[in-house]
């Protein structure tokens, strides 16, 4: 490090790295949002499979969550990424699409989503079980279709119970995006490393990246708290 910090290195335009950092940051947010959303979808399916599925479905869901939770996330991501893209490419070639290339963002979202899904399955399963049976039973007794019971009663009724765990998962999703740097995604962490080694200003760039992650966390904490308040409005209503 030279004497003093050269903040002009954070300028948006080259030779400043600010623009690249922000682009990487947006990429990280995209990956986190996409992976998290996919994780929720997988989690709902997994939770339903575990709670209401037949033997085979239950066992499959169980194996999935055990693997996801037992293996380090980085290993899973490498596995999903390389095996996944390999399988996808082979499948596409078999179907006659030569030279197929999985879109980086899509692959990243899939990888994060698959990992998130394992944890979300457990969070959502617990939340659904926290809904008194009678409320779901009442929905059936009034002739709701299973899909309606799910969307009109089970999911909204379990949401307050799911929020603390799911908020945690969101925090993990934002940070898991950094692991994708290993695979070569130019998300915030990778761009930061490039900027730092090109300029030798490690302190400046890693602190900047840390601040960006912190801002993301603070903003989403605020959003999550508002959402929790909304979802709990029936429960928090004073007697």
């Amino acid at each position: 490090m030279t004497e003093g910090i050269d903040f002009s290195l954070l300028a948006l335009d080259a030779p400043g790295w600010g623009g690249a950092l922000l682009t990487g940051f947006l990429r990280s947010v995209e990956l986190a949002v996409g992976g998290y959303a996919l994780g929720i979808v997988i989690g709902i399916i997994g939770a339903i499979a575990k709670l209401y599925g037949g033997r085979v479905t239950r066992d499959l869901a169980e194996i999935y969550t055990i693997i996801i939770r037992a293996v380090p996330e980085l290993v899973l991501m490498l596995l999903f990424y390389y095996v996944g893209t390999d399988l996808a490419n082979r499948a596409m070639q078999a179907m006659g699409y030569a030279g197929f290339d999985v879109n980086g963002l899509t692959a990243g979202i899939l990888v994060i989503g698959l990992v998130q899904g394992g944890y979300a399955t457990e969070v959502l399963r617990g939340a659904i079980r926290a809904v008194p049976r009678g409320q779901i039973e009442a929905a059936h007794a009034f002739g709701m279709s299973p899909a309606k019971v799910l969307t009109r009663v089970t999911l909204p009724a379990m949401t307050p119970h799911a929020i603390p765990g799911m908020a945690n998962l969101w925090m993990i999703a934002t940070k898991d995006t950094a692991l994708l740097a290993v695979i070569g995604f130019s998300e915030l962490t990778l761009v930061t490393r490039q900027a730092a080694s090109a300029t030798r200003e490690y302190f400046l760039f890693f602190i900047s990246a840390g601040v960006l992650y912190l801002i993301l966390t603070l903003v989403s904490n605020y959003g999550l708290r508002r959402f929790e308040k909304h979802a709990r409005r029936g429960m928090d209503a004073a007697r």
Partner: protein, 268 residues
Amino acid sequence: MAEFGDCADGDQMDDQAAIHVEDLHKRFGSMEVLKGVSLTARPGDVVAVIGGSGSGKSTMLRCINLLETPTSGRISIQGEAYDLRTTRSGDLEIADRQQVQRIRAHLGMVFQSFNLWPHRTVLGNVTEVPVHVLGVSREEADARAKAVLERVGLGDKLDAWPAQLSGGQQQRAAIARVLAVEPLAMLFDEPTSALDPELVGEVLSVIRALAEEKRTMILVTHEMAFARDVATHVVYLKDGRIEEQGPPEQIFGAPSSPHLQQFISSVT
């Protein structure tokens, strides 16, 4: 058994019946909870079901809307029998889910523990089924819901959350939720058993008013005085069988079964 015998051994389908149950059996594992129950509720009947704890009252009621699937037997609602088929293990299962949903939408059930949906307001609870199951327009459902909530004395609680209501108010909201679907029969499973004693009266008076306007209902209850008052027909369940049934004056005034005599003297 009494001459009120149209429900006794009904091998004949009763087309007049709102609810017709024939030779209903239900087992949980190796325990047979219902051992051949037959029951008919004609339009306007108020059938009170009494009996000791564990005698199978709730199970019978829950078979009527198939919350429990019978092991064997036949249940029809307004002349339409549930389409059930026999599984390989010899039990029954639902063959036509759509039919069950369609019939259920016209059978309102009131639960011991209210079971309102906590994430919806009182109004939202009452409009939920009309809008999302019956396809009634939002405006019409709102108007209907306000009317039924007015009826049960909750006209000022439309925007309240279930958690803000007393038990009695919650149960009245649950009754309004049933009224909003204009049910062809109502099923009550001990609607006042979870209530503090001082709240029982307000719920019973709502049910009484519904009975007086000749709504068809099957009412499982431990409130003997109330059953005697409002029922047109009383059924005494004992160990999964109907041991005695008849008009309330007979069941409460001159019970013939020793078990029933004992049961009535123990609860009154």
